[in-house]
Symmetry: C2
Subunit: 412 residues, 2 copies
């Protein structure tokens, strides 16, 4: 989300409100004088802006700052009053997260359900029920609802162009979901994009302006943060990394070609290689995380077949990741999903390939990190995306009756 252009006094005030709010998010509580110093605004302007942010429920006055001078109250992001809702539709689960501007979790829940098998209409019903649960969980103002979907999403129109693993094509999800939520506006975005947003907001690489997130699920997707913002490309389809053609004589891929990266390092490759026939790890009737923890236990116990598979996958993960690092030069590659769960064994061979294959000295400064958001990155990212609208334009949040500075003569 980008703020409107700054071409007049109202635009300037909006930009400065966003500047203060972003400063509090990035650097924590400040006194009003401290905010003025850090942003280059005058103390009077900073105070006037803080009053407006307070009136909009975005900040509050908290503790008194320690120090020798006159005691000053610290301004901090206000918990609970302004929230964002994230939803996720995935192959075998749906999820909800409600976060507030202060980064606090108001609600979070995951429902195991065969969403791919349920059919589109029942899936939308279920997402709507989760959204209502989220709306009921807060008495604050809800900045927006963003749904994460594993597929190609037309963000501008809220249409899922193609989500092969869900069996959706040209699904008008934003419209269909809004219709079940009394017309409340809904945004839809790609799950890897939203996961990257979550990592940037609150993950192991939080605040890193240039990072690449890789989903480790049935498919392999990428979300790219560049210069502190999500890289969307011309039509919103960046980060389709699963079909890097790495081996002309490799295994057949669902896309119709051979040797795509996904066939080497996707979840199916892992399960096929670690599990002999009849092994419970390969039994789709068992919950996926349970099966992955079994793989983890075997690796920890030194099982040769498991370790060989993880070493091979880690190596191919590094080969593909090196391509993306050479193209994008991120400061961090964050491994998500099953890559993170088994990162202890996947990361070392992947790091070795990166070191050998990235052309820039010292890997261009890139670190390979394991996400600690597990399989919740996308839904958390949905909530962050909804909140980002307010961080870009704090005047979206409604003022309460006690707005202490409604004076329209304060120009800045």
């Amino acid at each position: 989300m980008t703020a409107p252009p700054v071409s007049d006094q109202l635009g300037l005030r909006r930009a400065n409100l966003a500047l203060l709010l972003g400063t509090l998010r990035a650097h924590g509580p400040h006194s009003r004088a401290g905010l003025a110093r850090r942003t280059g605004l005058t103390k009077a302007t900073a105070s006037s802006l803080v009053a407006e942010l307070t009136g909009r429920g975005l900040v509050r006055l908290g503790e008194v700052a320690p120090g020798h001078g006159r005691p000053a109250q610290l301004v901090e992001l206000r918990p609970g009053a302004v929230c964002g809702i994230g939803l996720e539709a995935n192959v075998d689960y749906a999820a909800l997260a409600v976060l507030d501007v202060a980064g606090g979790t108001i609600a979070q829940r995951r429902v195991a359900v065969d969403l791919a098998g349920a059919g589109y209409d029942r899936a939308v019903d279920l997402l709507a029920a989760l959204a209502k649960e989220g709306l009921a969980a807060t008495d604050g103002w809800v900045a927006g609802i963003t749904v994460a979907v594993p597929g190609l999403v037309d963000v501008d129109h809220g249409v899922v162009r193609l989500a092969p693993n869900l069996g959706w094509r040209e699904a008008r999800l934003a419209e269909d979901l809004a219709g079940r939520l009394a017309g409340r506006p809904v945004l839809v975005d790609n799950d890897a994009n939203l996961s990257a947003l979550a990592e940037h907001a609150a993950g192991v690489a939080a605040g890193t302006p240039d990072l690449l997130y890789l989903t480790g699920e049935v498919g392999v997707g990428g979300g790219v943060i560049a210069g502190g913002a999500l890289l969307r490309g011309a039509t919103g389809f960046t980060g389709e990394v699963g079909h890097l053609p790495l081996d002309p004589v490799g295994l057949p891929c669902g896309c119709g070609r051979r040797g795509c990266w996904e066939t080497q390092v996707g979840l199916a490759a892992l399960l096929r290689e670690v599990a002999p026939p009849g092994d419970p790890v390969a039994d789709p009737a068992t919950d996926l995380e349970t099966r992955l923890l079994l793989v983890r236990d075997r690796a920890a116990a030194g099982d040769a077949r498991t370790l060989a598979a993880l070493d091979r996958i880690g190596t191919d993960l590094g080969v593909g990741a090196s391509i993306l690092v050479n193209v994008l030069n991120p400061a961090a590659v964050v491994l998500g999903g099953y890559f993170a769960l088994l990162g202890e064994w996947l990361a070392p061979p992947a790091r070795a390939e990166l070191a050998a294959r990235v052309l820039a000295p010292d890997c261009g400064g890139c670190r390979l990190l394991l996400s600690d958001l597990g399989f919740t990155a996308a839904v958390l990212g949905g909530a962050h995306a909804a909140l980002d609208r307010v961080f870009a334009d704090p005047t979206l949040a409604p003022t309460d009756d006690s707005d202490p500075d409604p004076d329209p003569r304060s120009p800045q």
Copy 2:
């Protein structure tokens, strides 16, 4: 280049000066009233800003706008007064370009020279001589000098970390060149990055916010424009696309591995495949463009060996480009260097691979285009990069004595 943050009145005025100047660049001459309408500024503010831009030599009053109302003079970018200088160091040539803010060419020259063989110090001497020639060609104010180099460049420090084809490593080019130019500041950047800037400013895909430029030279490099700005990544090393590992059993590459994209589609692959032993096309003593025109003539005459080679290279060009389109989702891929010269034969098979391999519907809207800047894209991009400093902050350009609006009370 990004403008300083807009946190005060001076910042606002600077941002609005940049807004007007950018509007004139993107949309051509406007009356002052037209500028006000398009930017949302008041007419009084727009007039005051135009006066300042005039005083800084960036715009001038030109023709009277046609129409029924009161006649109004059109404001347009002023030729000649404010310039940017581009230089290029390449394997077998050095080049100079001087452009003004209006996009006019003040000077342009290319010197055939074995720069790789000359050694670093002599190369810097030659670049300094070209820079002096450029400075002498204009009596306007020079916004900056930017040098294009085929290699990994640390832009912040002006250091060429590694330019294998020139044999340079950890070369402090900005400092060494400034030392020969009386301390005049010099920037250094990657040639593919600068070529992408030139295409964005004035090429076949001018103004396209998301585009990918591919150099077709000894090496294959990429320059990425995303959201209207150059994508630099964490340490400035984006776009290293030549070593996409496309064939594990392919030909050995200079990087030590096999089957890199560069081994399939770089200039060496072309010359090897089209030319039997003893063929003048493979004779390094003959000028490269002459040899490429010979290849072109043979293709036009239907020579089977040439056509087979171009079809194979075009196909592999499309395979690699499809990876980049899936990752970056550009609206245009612009083929430069020899790819453009032989584009008539390379583009059709490349387009077929893109159509088959890009996952987004309709190629994600991406078109494959042939550059019309030939081998001059990088040096022109250097001149544009130097000018971009002034487009981002017009107050860098000095005011002349006749500055018609020096009144510091004009706040906006």
